[in-house]
Symmetry: C2
Subunit: 348 residues, 2 copies
Amino acid sequence: MPSGPVTIADVAAEAGVSPATASRALNGVGRMRVETRERVRATARRLGFRPNEAARSLLRGRTFTMGLLTTDSYGRFSGPVMRGIEDAVGAEQVAIIVCDARSDPIRERYYAEALASRQVDGIIVTGRRVDPRPPLALHGSHVPVIYAFAQTEPPGRDLCLIPDDRQGGRLATEHLLALGRRRLAHLTGPERFLAARERADGMREALASAGLELAGGARHGAWALGWGYEGMLALLREHPDIDGVFCGADLVAHGAIEAIRESGRRVPADVAVVGFDNWEPIAADPRVSLTSVDMALEPLGMLAGQSLLAMIDGDPRTGIVRTPCELVVRASSIALASHWEPRPKEGA
Amino acid sequence: MPSGPVTIADVAAEAGVSPATASRALNGVGRMRVETRERVRATARRLGFRPNEAARSLLRGRTFTMGLLTTDSYGRFSGPVMRGIEDAVGAEQVAIIVCDARSDPIRERYYAEALASRQVDGIIVTGRRVDPRPPLALHGSHVPVIYAFAQTEPPGRDLCLIPDDRQGGRLATEHLLALGRRRLAHLTGPERFLAARERADGMREALASAGLELAGGARHGAWALGWGYEGMLALLREHPDIDGVFCGADLVAHGAIEAIRESGRRVPADVAVVGFDNWEPIAADPRVSLTSVDMALEPLGMLAGQSLLAMIDGDPRTGIVRTPCELVVRASSIALASHWEPRPKEGA
DNA sequence: TTGTATGCGTTATCAT
DNA sequence: ATGATAACGCATACAA
């Protein structure tokens, strides 16, 4: 009776064969009597044998492990990215080690070293912002590294996967235009965020294609409900004829909707609203029911996982890949406004 | 010039010593000439040597790795718990392997096996609900397992860490009572959630201590903004004199605030509001500024990590540990109502 | 068809 | 103060 975990030697002894035979039986390689194979397998099962991955790693030179280094903690966007990565690599029996650098370069270096020391086969760096950052410094290591929902500087040297914010902005705008709206405004986050600028640019592009201009220009503020409310009140004061608004975040859109309703206008009958993030707790709530641009982070994560697996297999990849956003249509931008009016008593 | 990663043999050869000496030099054990130690260390640094953790694990019989098995994906509550765990175990050089069972028992079993096979030193099972679940089935393995933000059935056999929802409910209620409010109502999530029932019980306890009863009883609905709005409208219709409301979730509280304002009442002057979750994007938004009960999940996660480390070191632990919630006071329940009124024009 | 021997990278033990 | 050797658990090349 062995003390610690059951080893293949224990199984072999119990089944009355050599460790080599046991190994072959369990891995299904080589030729052997069916009876032997079955006997070994039954013994392994009975003893609860689990091959020691550390030993296998040592032998194969691969750990079947990848590191996920979050630069700025686990936020709202980490979940989908992690799920996507897991979908891509889980089937390959690859485990994921996570670490959270919390926007601290020292921690980042420390964790990068730790991951390299654990001989991970590859590293995915992820961050909530898409603004460029210096690449991971891994002195003398050839571990493949890719960036998901993060971008490095100078551009083009590493593989970076980011949502196509500009296309997302176009998507939202084209949707509003397709509804027949012509006086469109834009409320979004701080200008220092690349994502905010890109979304605004996408909107301007789509408007330009239709020969239109942005009513009131791109309004930058906080990524907050309060800003959506205040900003929308101001917009309505300056441009009372606005019939559609695209917001750079669902929280902003939610605030904007409150302001629109409070001004006596109806959503979407008078003003159609489109948000960004497709943040379900808010956007999918029946009382908000917000049409929103979804960054499709789960597919992005999956692509990251697949790409890293390919790089591990020796296929070098670089460059910036922008993954398409998708539009999720809800009541805040439905064509037939009369179908949906949660506050019939208001302003009546 | 070695091909793959730099090994200790490479360092030893380059420094002109044996692998054993190199190992001792790098680990600071044994006696040796200072010059030798420094020379080896410098060589290791120059070559970018990183000790292979798989080899060390094999030797030590410990991997310094723990598994984090999420039962129902990475949601809003996973982040804080993960951060807490990392804080507890990161200093001990312990890495965390994550896997997401997505509420699928098959996946859960599969991942549990995978973690055991990787010889993790321990496993933390986490889930967004605190309703009891069967314990992790790990045939013939003695890996310590603990449950964070999750609970097993029958109770008492495993170590389970859960927020003290009942105490949270008392906390919120006592705060409202301290403000002088006496006609308190409760809007919360579906009754099938243990957390909802516990929070309501906590509220009733606190009210009973003050010789009071719940106005309108505990109102159960969805964990959604829409329910908070509808539920609050109904409450105000039936009990127009309500002067305080405790909501089982911030989203519900947010909806309730909208309803209160729309009814022409002011928050907190006429009705004080307390939420649950302290969900920053909503609660901390200046336009909502919601007093809320925080489940302190980061400390909970840290305790989970520390407890698991203790169990790994041979200290057995079982039982249900309820970790205290904390109250975060914001404008929705401030005593001096006149200090804060975001919509002065309303109802004027 | 099955057994023996070797090595993956590291460290502890024993020898020098 | 340093070197040689063995061992951790597994899989494979080679031998039988």
